[in-house]
C-alpha cells in the first residue's frame, strides 16, 4: 500500500519511494527529507476529502504532502 491510503493515526514503515517518472525531483527530495527504507511514519492529520493534503511525521519531523506526493511512498503497516 502507499502512504495516501493510511488513515489518520495510522503508523507504518517506508518500503520505498517510487519515481512517478524518470528523474523525479520530488521523489528525490522526499528521500532526502527522510522517507527512506525502514523509516517509521505516522499520519497526524487528514482533510475531509479524498484529495486533501495530509500531514505525516517521519523521524522527528512533520511534513504536509499532497495526495499525489504521498502516493509515491510505498509502506507496510505496523500493527
Amino acid at each position: 500500500m502507499n502512504l495516501s491510503e493510511l488513515p489518520k493515526g495510522g503508523q507504518a514503515i517506508v518500503v520505498s519511494v517510487r519515481n512517478s517518472r524518470e528523474l523525479d525531483p520530488i521523489a528525490h527530495r522526499m528521500r532526502e527529507l527522510g522517507f527512506v527504507v525502514d523509516a517509521p511514519v505516522k499520519i497526524l492529520a487528514r482533510g475531509l476529502f479524498k484529495d486533501s493534503p495530509l500531514v505525516v511525521r517521519v523521524g522527528n519531523t512533520r511534513f504536509a504532502l499532497r495526495k499525489k506526493e504521498a502516493e509515491r511512498i510505498q509502506i507496510k503497516e505496523v500493527i
Binding site: 520530488i26 492529520a45 487528514r46 476529502f49 519531523t61
Partner: protein, 620 residues
C-alpha cells in the same frame, strides 16, 4: 594562520529551513544588517557584521535555508552555488557555519554529511539546545565532534548570550575541514546518520514537549476546528489592519500636509515651483509613506504567524481549494493581505518557493479588492445605486459592493486557472512542506524583520513610486493653461489632451472625456481618481463638500450604464503605480510588469464594455 590586525573573514551560515538560523544570525550581527537581492534573482541576500575584538571581525552571510545541495528552488540554487564558489559576484565563504536543530538531528545531520563532502572548512552550531534539554534529548557532542572531525558548538539563538561558545570558537580561528563521508547515495547517507544517532544521541522518557505540539496540531490541523481558528485569526488580523492603520494613515497625511505647508510657505502660490513642490514632490512623498502603516501592521502579523510556526499550517489547510484554482496553499496569506493592499501582498509572495506558483500569485494579487478601491466604489454606489431593500433582507448598495468583491475573487481564480491552462504546464508543482515545532516569537526577530520590510519598501519601491508621481504631476501640469482660460487647468496639459484623445477609445464603454482625464492622475492611486474628477469638474472646497457635490453632479450628468461600467473598470484596472512598481521589484522584470499592466487593462476594458453595452440595451 598568522594574525594581522583588522582581519575580516567571510563566514556563511547554512542550514535547513526552521533550524533557527535567522535568529542566530540576528544574535550574531544585531541590527547591523544589509538586505539586498542576489545579482540577477529575487532571492534575498542578508549580510551582517560581527566584531569579535579589535583585531578580528566577521562578515556573516545568511544563506537561504536549504534542505539539500540538489536544489529544487531558486533559494537552494543560490546556497549551492555560493558554497561551491561558482556564484557570479559572490566570493566563496572561508568558513561554513552549519546550523542544525538539536531536536531534529536525523534530518539535519544528513545535510551536515552532504556539506562535509564539499571539503571546505566548517563548524557546526548545534542550535535549540534549550528545547532539546526539555525533550530529554542527550547529545554526546564530544563523541560527535570526533566522528565528524569538526567542532560542534551548542547554541541557543533565542538567549542573549546563547552564541558565546560559537563566538569563542570563531575567535580561535581553528577551522578544520571535515572528514570526507564517502557516502555514495541517499540511503548510504541515512545509514551513516542512523549510526551516528545510535552512538551519540539518546532520548530518555517519552516526548512530553512533542505531546503538546501534537495536541495543538490536533485542533489547528483538523479540517473543521482548524478552519474555525484560521478564520478567527484572519478576522482579527483584518480588524487590526483597518482599525490600527486608519489613524496612523490620517496622521501621516496630516504630517505630510503640515510639512508641505512649511516647505511651500515662502513660495508664491500661483508659481510653477509651488505646484512642483506641493503637487509633485510632497504628493509623491505622501504616496510612498501612506502605505507604511498597512505594510507594517500586515507584516507584523505575517512575521508573527511565520515565526510561531502557524503559517505553513494555514497553507496546509487552504491548499486543496487553492490548488484546484491553479495556485498553492502558500499563496493564501499573500492573496489575503492583498485585500488590504496589493503592495505588502506581493512582497509576501517570497514565502512561495516554486517560481511558477509565485509568479501566478503576483499576477492575480492586484485583482483582490484593496482598500484604495473603496472611496471610488462608495462614491459611485451612493450616487447611482438606490438605498433600497432587496427581498426584504439585503441592502441593494451593500449587495453591489459585495458583488464587486466577489467579482475580484472569481476573476483571480479564472485568471490563475487559465494561466495554468495556457502554459500547458502539466509538470507537478511540489507542495511538500515541513511543519516546524510551535515557538513563541521573539520581539527582536520580529523587530528586525519589520525593519527589513520597511527598508525594502522605502528604498526599493519608494524610489519608483516617488519618481512616477512626480512624472505624473508633470503630465498633468504642462503645458499650463493660459491665464484667461475658464475651465480646469488640466485640460491644457498633456494628460488633458491625452484624456480627450482617449475618449474616442473609451466611448464604447461609456466613459466621457472627464472620466478619461481623471483616470490619468488616478494612476497614482485609485482614490486619487475621485479628487481628480473633482478637479476636472473644477470644484473647490473641503474634501467632504467636494465628495457631496461630486455625488450630486455625477448623478445628474452620468447615465447608470456609465457608472456601472466605471465600477467594473475599477475591479480590474491596475490604477496604481505602487502595485506596478512592486511587481517590477519582486519579479526583477519589466516584462512581467508590462504583461500585468496589459492584461489587467485589457480585462478592465472587456468587462466595462460588456457591462456598458448590456446595461444600455437592457435599460433602453
Amino acid at each position: 594562520m598568522s594574525r594581522t590586525p583588522n582581519q575580516v573573514h567571510r563566514v556563511a551560515l547554512v542550514g535547513n529551513p526552521n533550524c533557527g538560523k535567522t535568529a542566530l544570525f540576528n544574535l550574531l550581527t544585531g541590527s547591523k544588517q544589509k538586505v539586498a537581492n542576489y545579482a540577477g534573482v529575487t532571492v534575498e541576500r542578508k549580510e551582517g557584521y560581527c566584531r569579535i575584538n579589535e583585531d578580528l571581525s566577521f562578515q556573516v552571510l545568511d544563506l537561504p535555508g536549504a534542505y539539500s545541495l540538489s536544489a529544487t528552488s531558486p533559494d537552494e540554487a543560490v546556497t549551492r552555488d555560493v558554497l561551491q564558489g561558482i556564484y557570479k559576484g559572490e566570493a566563496q565563504p572561508e568558513l561554513i557555519v552549519c546550523v542544525i536543530d538539536a531536536t531534529n538531528l536525523r534530518l539535519h545531520l544528513r545535510f551536515v554529511l552532504e556539506l562535509a563532502d564539499l571539503g571546505r572548512p566548517m563548524i557546526i552550531a548545534l542550535n535549540m539546545m534549550d528545547s532539546a534539554r526539555k525533550q530529554n534529548i542527550h547529545i554526546d557532542t564530544i563523541g560527535l565532534t570526533k566522528a565528524l572531525g569538526i567542532p560542534i558548538l551548542e547554541t541557543i539563538a533565542t538567549q542573549r548570550d546563547g552564541a558565546a561558545n560559537l563566538l569563542a570558537q570563531l575567535a580561535q580561528q581553528h577551522w578544520p575541514t571535515p572528514a570526507h563521508s564517502n557516502n555514495l547515495n541517499i540511503e548510504a547517507r541515512y545509514e551513516h546518520v542512523n549510526t551516528l544517532m545510535a552512538r551519540y544521541v539518546s532520548q530518555n522518557s517519552t516526548h512530553k514537549h512533542r505531546g503538546f505540539d501534537d495536541q495543538l496540531d490536533g485542533i489547528l490541523l483538523h479540517p473543521i476546528t482548524g478552519l474555525i481558528v484560521l478564520s478567527f485569526i484572519l478576522f482579527f488580523m483584518f480588524q487590526a489592519v483597518f482599525s490600527w492603520a486608519a489613524p496612523l494613515m490620517d496622521g501621516i497625511t496630516a504630517g505630510v500636509n503640515l510639512f508641505g505647508n512649511l516647505v511651500t510657505a515662502p513660495i508664491p502660490v500661483e508659481s510653477a515651483l509651488y505646484s512642483l513642490v506641493n503637487d509633485g514632490i510632497i504628493a509623491g512623498l505622501g504616496n510612498v509613506l501612506i502605505f507604511l502603516p498597512q505594510i507594517l501592521i500586515l507584516f507584523l502579523f505575517i512575521l508573527f504567524l511565520e515565526e510561531s510556526g502557524y503559517l505553513p499550517r494555514a497553507a496546509y489547510l487552504m491548499d486543496r481549494i487553492m490548488f484546484r484554482a491553479g495556485l498553492t496553499g502558500r499563496a493564501f496569506i499573500p492573496l489575503l493581505s492583498s485585500f488590504a493592499c496589493a503592495v505588502p501582498g506581493i512582497m509576501a509572495t517570497r514565502s512561495i518557493q516554486d517560481p511558477r506558483d509565485r509568479l501566478t500569485t503576483i499576477l492575480v494579487a492586484p485583482l483582490m479588492t484593496c482598500s484604495a478601491r473603496l472611496p471610488v466604489y462608495t462614491l459611485l454606489i451612493s450616487a447611482f445605486i438606490p438605498r433600497q431593500q432587496v427581498a426584504g433582507l439585503f441592502n441593494l448598495q451593500g449587495l453591489v459592493l459585495f458583488t464587486l468583491y466577489i467579482a475580484g475573487i472569481l476573476s483571480a481564480l479564472v485568471v490563475a486557472f487559465s494561466m495554468k491552462w495556457v502554459k500547458r504546464d502539466k509538470s507537478e508543482h511540489a507542495f511538500l512542506m515541513e511543519l516546524p515545532a510551535y515557538r513563541i516569537p521573539k520581539v527582536r526577530d520580529l523587530g528586525i524583520g519589520l525593519l527589513h520590510r520597511s527598508n525594502i519598501f522605502l528604498k526599493r519601491v519608494g524610489g519608483i513610486i516617488f519618481s512616477l508621481t512626480v512624472l505624473l504631476w508633470a503630465f498633468c501640469t504642462f503645458p499650463s493653461a493660459p491665464a484667461d482660460y475658464m475651465g480646469a487647468a488640466i485640460d491644457y496639459s498633456i494628460a488633458g489632451r491625452l484624456g480627450h484623445m482617449m475618449s474616442v477609445i473609451f466611448e464604447p464603454i461609456g466613459f466621457n472625456w472627464q472620466i478619461c482625464i481623471a483616470l490619468i492622475p488616478g494612476m497614482a492611486a485609485r482614490e486619487v481618481a475621485v479628487s481628480a474628477l473633482a478637479t476636472v469638474y473644477a470644484m473647490s472646497g473641503s474634501n467632504e463638500m467636494v465628495n457631496q457635490q461630486l455625488t450630486e453632479l455625477i448623478a445628474q450628468q452620468w447615465t447608470l450604464p456609465t457608472a456601472l461600467s466605471l465600477l467594473a473598470w475599477f475591479v480590474f484596472a491596475p490604477q496604481c503605480i505602487s502595485t506596478l512598481a512592486v511587481i517590477r521589484r519582486e519579479t526583477n522584470s519589466w516584462r512581467v510588469m508590462g504583461f500585468a499592466t496589459f492584461y489587467l487593462f485589457a480585462l478592465a476594458y472587456l468587462a466595462s464594455f460588456l457591462v456598458f453595452q448590456l446595461s444600455t440595451s437592457l435599460l433602453s
